[in-house]
Structure formats: structure tokens, C-alpha cells
């Protein structure tokens, strides 16, 4: 939970009054372009950086005061996964197990289970320097999961991967998300990834949270677009109707019209207006928007308003 969370570096605001609540056990996607403030947020959540304003609670703890306890309960995969190249995969995980203070008797079993989970058991004795980028990312996820953390923070886990490895890692994350019981905080700029994995997403831009909600809610964006099949509609139909505020109506081909409404519930008022004007309404087809379109609308709109400002 963050309330008014702010972090400035000199005169530059990296994070500006972030209000955010991530329910326990959910998968939260933190979207935003590079430099939006996602990594700064992660560092604040982990107590690596101190906020310059506002407050933050992670798993009920204050990371500023209880940073060590917060970090002990978090598994983290950073944008640069940060594995020890001179060590083998086994040694990297053994280090993580030692850091997590897993008892020596249990360490081997836990490391083996983690390596098997990401299909790296057969290559456990190889140095990480011989690993491909995809294998490193998988090992990074295995390392983050080793201590069975209550919160898993993934900062751009598919960054720089080829499509095949993206699919492979996404399947791994999907299986983690489906297991439940663990909160996942996923920073990404890959929107289809967020759409598939996340219960809720937030869009961060220039340090400010521009939108938050489920992918479906964000895709709807509070607006609604519908395609209407009408009969008996005159060419100057929009001028004749008492359209709801912010609504636009335009012809979209043979007997079809496209309506854009400020609010989803305005569809009823539009249909009532059409019927009242003696126009036959044969079909109302909702037009969906992908999360990507919603993201571009939010980010693009903000960019446009900043440029105008």
C-alpha cells in the first residue's frame, strides 16, 4: 500500500504522490514506459530508497524501518537479473538459500526443487556465464522463489528476451500466478503480458499513476464505443439527436454508425434517443479496446496534454 508516495532526485520527481493498493494474493501489473518510475517504486517498496514524501507499507511493514524484514519476505527479479557468472547455477541458488537462512539440511532439497521447476536441473553444474539470456532469467525467477516469498517482485522479467523465451517465461509466470497465495508485483512495458497475467494493472507515466484497474476496466477506460445497425437513419442524424454529453456519432458504412460515449452507461440513453427520433435500432455491437489501445490512450493523452502545457 502506498499513499502519496513521492521520491525526488534533486529537483526531478521520479515518483509523484503515488496512491496504490495491491490486495494480498493478487497479480498486479505496473505498466509504464522506460523512466516512468517503476524501478524507483520497486526500490522504495524494498526499503532500498527512502521516500521523500508519503508512506508505504509492504506486507504490513514499513520498509523504511523494517527494510530487512520486508526484503526477507520478498523474492525479487530485477531488470538486470544479477547472477554470479563465475558460480554455477547450483551455487547461485545455494547463495540465495544461505541468504534466506534456509537450514543446511533443507537447502539441497529446496535448491533441487527450484532448479527442476525451471528445467535447469541438468545444467546445474554449469557456470552461469555459459547460460543463455533466457536461462538466466529462469534461474533468476528460481532464485526469487527459493525462499517461498509472500511477495514476488518482477521488474521487466522478459526484457531483452527473444520471442521463444518470452513465451517460455510467460508460461512460468502464468503458472505462478495460477498457484495463488502469493502476491505478484510485475513491472513491465509488455502489455499483452500484463493483460494475460494480471488481475489489476496500474499505468505509471512520468512518476504519476495515470490509471488503475483491471485490464478489462482499463480497456473500457470509462468510455464505450459501439457499432449501431440502424434503419431509417437520416444523414444528418447526429444533429437531430439529443446526444449524451461527450458522445460522438458518425456513419461507418452501409446502414452502420459508430458511436463513442463518455461513459459506458450512456449507451442506454443513446438508444432511447434514437428510438425517440423514430430510428430503427437493429443491433448494438460493443467495440472492445485492447489493453494496449487503452495504454496508448492514457500515455498518449498524457503526452499530448504535457506537450500542450
Amino acid at each position: 500500500m502506498c499513499r502519496g508516495l513521492t521520491r525526488a532526485f534533486g529537483s526531478r520527481l521520479a515518483l509523484d504522490r503515488l496512491d496504490l493498493e495491491v490486495p494480498t494474493g493478487s497479480v498486479f501489473g505496473f505498466l509504464g514506459p522506460n523512466g516512468a518510475g517503476k524501478t524507483t517504486t520497486v526500490r522504495l517498496l524494498l526499503g532500498i530508497l527512502r521516500p521523500t514524501g508519503g508512506e508505504v507499507r509492504v506486507l504490513g511493514l514499513d520498509p523504511v524501518r523494517d527494510g530487512e524484514r520486508v526484503r526477507a519476505q520478498c523474492g525479487v527479479v530485477l531488470d538486470q537479473v544479477g547472477l554470479y557468472e563465475r558460480l554455477t547455477a547450483w551455487q547461485n541458488l545455494e547463495l540465495a538459500a544461505r541468504i534466506a537462512r534456509i537450514p543446511p539440511a533443507e537447502r539441497g532439497r529446496r535448491v533441487e526443487a527450484a532448479l527442476r521447476r525451471v528445467d535447469l536441473w541438468d545444467r546445474r553444474a554449469e557456470r552461469v556465464s555459459a547460460y543463455s539470456k533466457g536461462m538466466r532469467q529462469k534461474l533468476g525467477v528460481a532464485r526469487a522463489l527459493l525462499a517461498e516469498p509472500r511477495l514476488l517482485i518482477l521488474d521487466e522479467p522478459t526484457s531483452g528476451l527473444d520471442p521463444e523465451n518470452i513465451v517460455m517465461l510467460r508460461e512460468l509466470l502464468l503458472s505462478l500466478a495460477q498457484e495463488g497465495g502469493r502476491t505478484i508485483f510485475l513491472c513491465t512495458h509488455l502489455l499483452d503480458e500484463a493483460e494475460r497475467l494480471c488481475d489489476r494493472v496500474g499505468i505509471l507515466q512520468a512518476g504519476r499513476l495515470r490509471a488503475v484497474g483491471s485490464p478489462t476496466e482499463l480497456a473500457a477506460g470509462g468510455r464505450a464505443a459501439v457499432r449501431l445497425r440502424l434503419s431509417g437513419a437520416p444523414e444528418d442524424l447526429p444533429g437531430r439527436l439529443p446526444l449524451p454529453d461527450g458522445a460522438r456519432l458518425a456513419p461507418a458504412g452501409e446502414g452502420e454508425w459508430r458511436a463513442e460515449l463518455a461513459r459506458a452507461e450512456d449507451v442506454e440513453a443513446l438508444v432511447a434517443a434514437l428510438v425517440g427520433a423514430g430510428v430503427g435500432v437493429r443491433a448494438v455491437i460493443p467495440l472492445g479496446e485492447s489493453l494496449e489501445e487503452a495504454y496508448l490512450r492514457v500515455v498518449g493523452g498524457t503526452e499530448a496534454s504535457r506537450s500542450a502545457g
Binding site: F9, I48, L49, A72, G82, L83, Y84, L87, L95, I99
Partner: protein, 237 residues
Amino acid sequence: MDDLATMLWKEAAELVGNRRYLRVFVLAVLALGILPGLAQPPAAPAPLVRLFLLLRLAYVLLAAVIMVAQTAPDLVLHERVGRTLDYLLATRLTDGAIFGGKVVVAAAVGYAGGLAAMGVQLVVADLRGGGGWQWLYLAFPVGRWIAFAVMAVLVAYVAVVGTFVALRVGDQRAAYMVTVASLFLPALPFVLHLATLSPTTGWFVRATALFALVVAAMAAAGFRLFRREMLALYLQE
């Protein structure tokens, strides 16, 4: 202590896994052990012989200092380059464990390097045809004190400086140069005539104890100065 042990285990595993580093270590030990060991001692008089033995001891200290000056910045810089320092900062390890481990390992490597160079030097000198007299400096308290205690404090000093310099200076060559240059600091009191060296055991004991206190204070200041947040900001630069 568990965390410090974890870091020691990690650093040791990394050093063992670094074959290039091990090669350099062995070569340095051999070079700084064999070459002084081959030198013939002066026939007489006694003060010259004593000076000759002190020079041999100086080579031992030099070997230790070179090892630690190379190792201490490297332990930090390769973590910066490989972005593993970001990972360590995101774990529950304390700052003290992370950097204490590095200081201890760097100092231990330097100390081990110095002892190894001393061993090689003495064996070579014996093989060259001495009657065992070249071991003499270890027979006297002041010689033993310099060989073991002064060397320990000296490597601790270089390890502390090298570790914290590398945290701030991201470039390996620059970090190494600053670390080596820091060796002139302990010599400053003598250069400025604030202190005079006296070749007695008592003087060396007092000087070493004072130097050890200074090193401990520097380490404490380093740990206070290089807090987690400060490091995260440096890494962000």
C-alpha cells in the same frame, strides 16, 4: 555472523571460480618470492645484513599489499558491472555483512599472499645456498611483529580503502590507483616529521596498535557513509 559467513562463502567461491585471478595470484607470489630469494646477501658488516633482511621483509609486505590492492576494488567492481550488487541490496543481508565480507576476504587474500611470498622467498634463499640465516628476521620479536602484525594491519587498511573507494569510483583502473596512492597516507607523519621510526619492538607495537585503531575508525566511517540508499544512488548514476 551468519550473514557475514554467507558473504565469506560467496566471495571465496567466486575467487576460486576465477581462474584468471588465481593465475595472477600464483604469479605474483612466485615473482615476489623467488626474485628477492635469489639475491645474494652482503658479506658484512652487520648493519648491511640487517638492512638486507629488512628489504626481504619489505618484499613480503609489498606482495601482501599488491594482492589486497588488486583484490579489494575488484570484489566490488565486478559486482557493480555484473549488477549483482543491486541483487545483494535487494536481499535481507545487512550492509555490514555485504561489505564486511568483502573487506575480510580481500584482507585475507592479501595476508595469505604475503605469507606465501615469504615462504617461497625463504625456501628459494635456502636452496640458493644459505645456512638458514635468512630466516633470522623471524627469530627476533621485531621481525616477527613486522612480518605478521604490521602486515595484518596494513592489508586491513588497504582492504578498507580499496572496498570503499571502489564503491564510489566505478572505474577499475582509477579505483586501483587511488587504493595504491592511499598507501602514502600512513607514511605522511614520517614525511612531515611528526613521527620518527624507531626499530624497536615497543615502538612497532605502539605504532601498529595506533594504526589498527585508525583502520577500525575508517571502516566504521565507511559503513556509515555507504548506506544502502547511497549505494543505490551511486549504482543509478
